[in-house]
Amino acid sequence: MNPFQFTRVTTPKAAILAITKESGTYFLAGGTNLIDLMKREVIIPERLVDINKLPLATIEKIATGLRIGAMAKNSAVADHELVKKQFPLLAQALNAGASAQLRNMATVGGNMMQRTRCAYFYDTSMPCNKRSPVQAGPDKGQANGPVGCGAIGGINRMHAIFATEPTGERGAPPGSTDRSSKCIAVHPSDMCIALVALDATVNVSGPKGDRKIPFGDFHRLPGNTPQKDNTLLPGELIMSVDLPTNQFADHSHYLKVRDRASYAFALVSVGVGVTMTGTTIQDVRLAMGGVAHKPWRLTEAEEFLKGKPATEANFKQAATLAMKGAKGYGENDFKLTLAPNSIIDALKTATKTA
């Protein structure tokens, strides 16, 4: 690992000041992803600001629902009574991710900030548009490895099927003229699939004050700048995540399809929350993981299902709507079949019609 300077802070204000002061500075929370990326020299920080002593680990009831501190450990959230009772989808998603050891280290904010596990991103001898320029050392400012996307035309079994082209459905940044794919990496988090489905809000604090980001707007599509995973502004610190009260607790399911039964990233995952009256779907939330550069909310499928009976025929139609615009890149073509089947399966389980 390359050497770096280390600072410890105890207040959010000091943390924001420390990261704003000099470039090449990163916050260090659980470190389960950042330390790994530093060992592999994918990220070479000049400074780390240790935020583990910030008083941001509280999980508390608020007027609108539940507030989870950004420094709350993944295991603490998954085992919290209020989470298990009122937001079982979040507990299920958290427990589907990583290992017990890693969940004891990883924080909610850090989970949101984790990088893709695309093998080309991790291997600095391979082309990648997502790696940022080197931030410290004699090569500062230079590209960290060859540019391009190794996964397009390469080994892309784990990769995205939605919004990979800047002009693709829901993918066009304003004023874009370059229409070629820059990145087909997927967002790796399970937790974030539950949070986007449950309409969470992210509370951030920065040099220009506090603001709220709807969870669906927190992560971004690759467009022409795949180096940027999210919409945080320079110097901003995630303070907490708010979950609005919902009625999905009795009909929630997180389905994760992966290569082994535990401790593997998703090929495809589906988060579902439903409210039912008899056999009729009153309200529904649907999101998918392992298919896009960001947690992928299935709003069109949700709209279709509202007010309809919970039948396999309706689930199939919802899945067809959800798959509009999907595109395979060769090795990941199987996801074009696996994804709709997983949506149907997760809906059956959540509505107890399996």
Binding site: F4, Q5, M105
Partner: protein, 217 residues
């Protein structure tokens, strides 16, 4: 990390491990000055200063208070093994994928390979060496075994033994967390510990045995 290994030159212990480290430490000592000189010549003296910067760290390891001085980039795993010679904790993948480095920090199992030692300031760390005594100081060679260690021997929960310290630390935590009620639950909550010899079935038997026996872990 050559700078720690100079300490070992004072050690009266002449084991093979220490001999090997002494040799490499001497090699590093011989090599460092010209490298530093070259760095200063090329205007990189600040980087060299940065590279050898040491920071204070106070923590408790297996019940013993430690006052240390370490480089920021040292992981808890490397601190335990290279500076404190607690080599029971193993380095497997060094990337958080195998669980061989599992230790307890303030009672929670973590991957020490992905833990920067400086982030454990003020914490209490328990390694396999401190398990039998519940983290109390003492002679690990003469201490009785922890019930989980006994159960791993009884059930043949290992073959080569490299993953075993991590498996045992994880297994103890698994019971303490309340996630060892069925073989299925144990499989899920022990999935962060890989055993290349494939002793999984016996590891599960050992954990179930300790859990059913009701011994305090």
């Amino acid at each position: 990390m050559a700078e720690y290994e100079h300490d070992e030159l004072e050690s009266p212990d002449a084991s093979r491990r220490v001999f090997l480290k002494q040799s490499s430490a001497l090699a590093a000592w011989v090599l460092t000055p010209p490298a530093a000189v070259a760095a200063v010549d090329t205007g990189l003296h600040e980087k060299v200063a940065l590279a050898v910067e040491q920071m204070p760290l106070q923590l408790t390891i297996n019940g013993k208070a430690q006052q240390l001085s370490i480089e920021p980039r040292v992981t808890l795993l490397d601190l335990l093994r290279e500076q404190l010679h607690l080599t029971g904790t193993k380095k497997g993948c060094d990337h958080g994928q195998c669980g061989a480095c599992t230790v307890h920090v303030d009672g929670n199992r973590v991957n020490s390979c992905l833990t920067l030692a400086l982030t454990t300031e003020g914490c209490s760390v328990t390694t396999i060496e401190g398990l039998a005594k519940g983290g109390e100081p003492g002679n690990s060679a003469t201490a009785p075994l922890h019930p989980m260690q006994e159960a791993f021997i009884k059930h043949d929960g290992f073959q080569c033994g490299y993953c075993t310290p991590g498996q045992i630390m994880s297994a103890v935590a698994c019971i303490r967390e309340g996630h060892a009620n069925t073989p299925e639950e144990i499989r899920e909550y022990m999935s962060g510990n890989i055993c290349r010899c494939g002793a999984y079935a016996n590891i599960i038997d050992a954990i179930m045995d300790v859990k059913k026996g009701g011994a305090k872990v």
